[in-house]
């Protein structure tokens, strides 16, 4: 589900799915936790391929953030489409996660 690449001081985890919903939320969480456990605790999740996000997937994302923070890390999101960006603003997830329009040079 995730394609990962090291990028300067962070890891890009690109979602290879179109629908970020309850079907894939558990698998996403499991793969992300493994990434954090392997020492990738600064992760930018790329939503470039994703057309919509549901509440189950958001819950998994928040759960991963809490785990990463417990290890001294952080999770950001990037390349949200207009609908997903609107959702993040609406429920203030843009205050919880750093949101990048494009992949950043440095995850600061």
């Amino acid at each position: 589900m995730l394609e990962t690449n090291k990028h300067n001081n962070y890891t890009v985890a690109k979602l290879l799915i179109k629908e970020a919903n309850l079907d894939v939320a558990d698998q996403f969480k499991s793969e992300m936790l493994q990434l954090v456990d392997k020492g990738n605790n600064q992760i930018v999740v790329s939503f470039e391929n994703v057309v919509y996000v549901d509440s189950s997937f958001l819950g998994a994302l928040v759960s991963v953030l809490k785990y990463a923070m417990s290890k001294g890390g952080d999770i950001a999101v990037a390349q949200l489409n207009k609908d997903i960006n609107n959702l993040f603003s609406l429920i203030r997830m843009n205050k919880v996660f750093k949101v990048y329009n494009t992949l950043p040079d440095v995850f600061a």
Partner: protein, 194 residues
């Protein structure tokens, strides 16, 4: 009198039912089908923000059907009026419940008349509280109180359940009705256009 094809008469709501088999694999095609129907009457170039909210509400209603209804099918009824979009998800599955809820007032359908006006705490974290207000024996409406988000840290208490919160945020009115006589559940979302 002729009406522009995209202009709704103020006296004739347009209504259509969409069957959903509570399977996530058909969520996205159905979502697109419903949004295409809404767009005929509320074009996206004029109502873009409302349509984004409508789409997200549908995603959560359909997700709710898959995740919580415990039945084979739901119906999404779309009612388009001149100043509002109404989305109603109905099924004959499990009545509204909260996992591990032991709070007060108790949730047992029909609700007791004694509890009308009381608030059920759906969840609470550092950034918001979501309550269900008991409006009558069969109906609860959702209400969200939000607090400023200053700083998110490992100390922050953050919930991981967003379905009802999203539905509350994208709508101008959001409520649930349980009809015990027909075992029918309705989640009703109203989005005002103006």
């Amino acid at each position: 009198m002729f009406l522009h094809k995209n202009k709704l008469s103020s006296v004739t709501p347009i209504q259509r039912d969409f069957l959903f088999v509570n399977d996530s694999k058909v969520m996205y095609p159905l979502l697109n089908e419903i949004i295409s129907f809404v767009k005929i009457h509320f074009p996206s170039d004029v109502h873009e923000e409302k349509l984004i909210n409508c789409k997200q509400a549908l995603i959560e209603l359909l997700t709710n059907g898959v995740k919580h209804s415990k039945t084979d099918a739901s119906v999404i009824t779309v009612i388009l009026k001149d100043h509002k979009i109404e989305l109603i998800k109905s099924d004959k599955g499990r009545a509204f419940y909260l996992e591990n809820y032991t709070g007060w007032p108790p949730i047992s359908w029909p609700l007791s008349k004694d509890y009308i006006g009381e608030k059920i705490k759906v969840y609470s974290d550092d950034f918001s509280n979501l309550h269900a207000i008991i409006q009558n024996e069969n109906r609860i409406a959702f209400e969200l109180d939000e607090f400023p988000i200053e700083n998110v840290s490992i100390e922050s208490n953050l919930v991981e359940h967003y379905g009802l919160m999203i539905l509350t945020k994208v709508s101008d009115l959001f409520y649930y009705v349980h009809d015990a006589s027909t075992h029918t559940n309705l989640f009703h979302v109203v989005i005002n256009i103006n």
